[in-house]
């Protein structure tokens, strides 16, 4: 923005540079993984009903569970844990990076 501002605005879709921008990027990435696997998969199951792909989803089994039931009932909670771990590792890393950067600027 060319207009000088004394204070940048807080907006999820227009994060300010630095830590907040990095944080918002990982938030949006995690939310993408969350939406696609939760709702995207249900949409897929629904759209494939009665087709070859649909019967593949319901006839293939894992741990004796039909694939779609296993994915929703067992894999998704695990996927959520995985997403949270990724988020935490990444945020730990950017926090360290930015705090090191900040400390140097005070030297």
């Amino acid at each position: 923005m060319s207009r000088p501002e004394k204070r940048s605005k807080v907006n999820l879709f227009r994060p300010k540079k630095g830590h907040m921008r990095d944080e918002v990027l990982i938030i949006l990435a995690i939310l993408f993984g969350w939406v696609v696997c939760t709702f995207g998969f249900q949409l897929l199951v629904y759209a494939c009903r009665g087709t070859g792909a649909g019967s593949l989803l319901t006839r293939l089994t894992l741990f004796n569970l039909p694939l779609h039931f296993w994915f929703t009932g067992q894999f998704l909670p695990l996927w959520f844990i995985f997403l949270c771990i990724i988020f935490n590792v990444y945020v730990d890393r950017i926090t360290e990076y930015h705090s090191r950067k900040r400390d140097r600027s005070y030297e």
Partner: protein, 506 residues
Amino acid sequence: MNDSSWSIFVVLLVLLSFILVGLRQKARESQEYGFGGRFTGRIGGGAAIASNWMSAASLMGLAGIIYLHGYQGLAYVIGWTGGYVLLLVLLASQIRRFGKFTTPEFVGERYGSRPARLIAAVISIAISVIYCVAQFKGIGLIFSFMFGLGYEQGVTYGALAVVSYLVISGALGVPRNQQLQYLVICVAFIVPLMWLARRLGYFWVLPQFGYGRALTDLWREFRIDFTLPFADDSLFQWCALCFTLMVGTGGLPHVLSRFYTVPNVRDARWSVVWGLFFIALVYWSAPAFAVFGRLIEARRGMIPSPEAARAAADVVTLNTAVAAGLPGWLVGVLAAGALSAAFFTVAGLLMTGAASISHDIYYSFLNPRASERARMQVAKGGTLVLAALVLIIALDPPGLIAEITAVAFALAGNTIFPLFLLGIWWDRANRYGAIAGMLTGVLCTVAQPVFGGTFPAVAALFPVTSSALCGTPLVILVMIAVSLATPPPPEEMRSFLEQEVHGHMD
């Protein structure tokens, strides 16, 4: 001893031991450190999150709804775990940096408005009351199961028991050992399940995976398909329910405050991961109870009518354990786990609800000059009034445990979640937007029962258990529109958000 006296014995033993352990811990801590409460690391923090979360809905309602609806019921499993992702990435660290411990306090501070704070307090109390109704139903069912009483008697005695427990542990000043609570609740749920799987001849070491064969047998022997997707309801209903439970998690009064009990933001974030893992352990197990319950019924030649199945759904875990011939003490363990979960949830919610009546409504709004003692009395009276209100509603419960709980989540998702989301991530959101948003959220939550008869489209878009899929986006739009049409919030608050909440690293 017969089965029911075993159950009563084990339940009494478990509840009493929580008080004794709490008292011992209190004595030791005041000796060693001179103050109560301690930090037990990220895993301990996670166990506390999970123990806070475990309620009759997780231990009884979840298996019941899956027993009834099969694949459709999995929306509850996903909704109640996936919500933590939202909470962690969007709100946890920011709310902690904001530094307000309860929803009304956050709303009062962020939006700088006493009416907004009052409305938020009333909504939080309403959420607690609805949530408690579901717990009371669970407690009533366990009491009638243990003592062979009718439901009304069971729920009345159960209410008396939970209030007495609250008074006794309050009078003795027993601290809650949430790590121990989680351990007891989790073991009391999973060990009977392992026993059940072994008895039925399935893989019992990890019954969470072992029930797959039971599912196959159910189909092969009786042609009951438990896994058929979208059999009773539509894709929209599945997604609406799942989304509602997820956003509701982000707005529940007793969940948010957990982030303040760990010393720093990093530990708070990591304890969410452990908490989610501990919660998932129970949620991976609940469908197994439902499947074993159906299988045992079918093998005995009982295919219940839809009404009978609905009536039995909330006690399917206990009924299945009895029908499979589990020893009496183990049935007692199962009942004790569910009862403790319901007890602690009720205790926590009634106390926060009463504190909110005393602090946010009485002290902040009605009588700012009230003495400490008067406020304490209002809080104590408030606990009893709330308990009585919950009991009256629970005497004729409006639905299944999981369904009643879902309404509380819908209200939280429609009102409090947008308030936090925009309050943290958009500095332009102001008090007028907040008030308009909360009122719209309440309207969305009650849309089906109130306007559904006149406008069928409203009933279809805002089903009472799952109104947030359409409700939350609508509330967010209303908040944005009203905020933009009215003057911006004070400069100090906007700078605080920019510098403290989002600029701590600049």
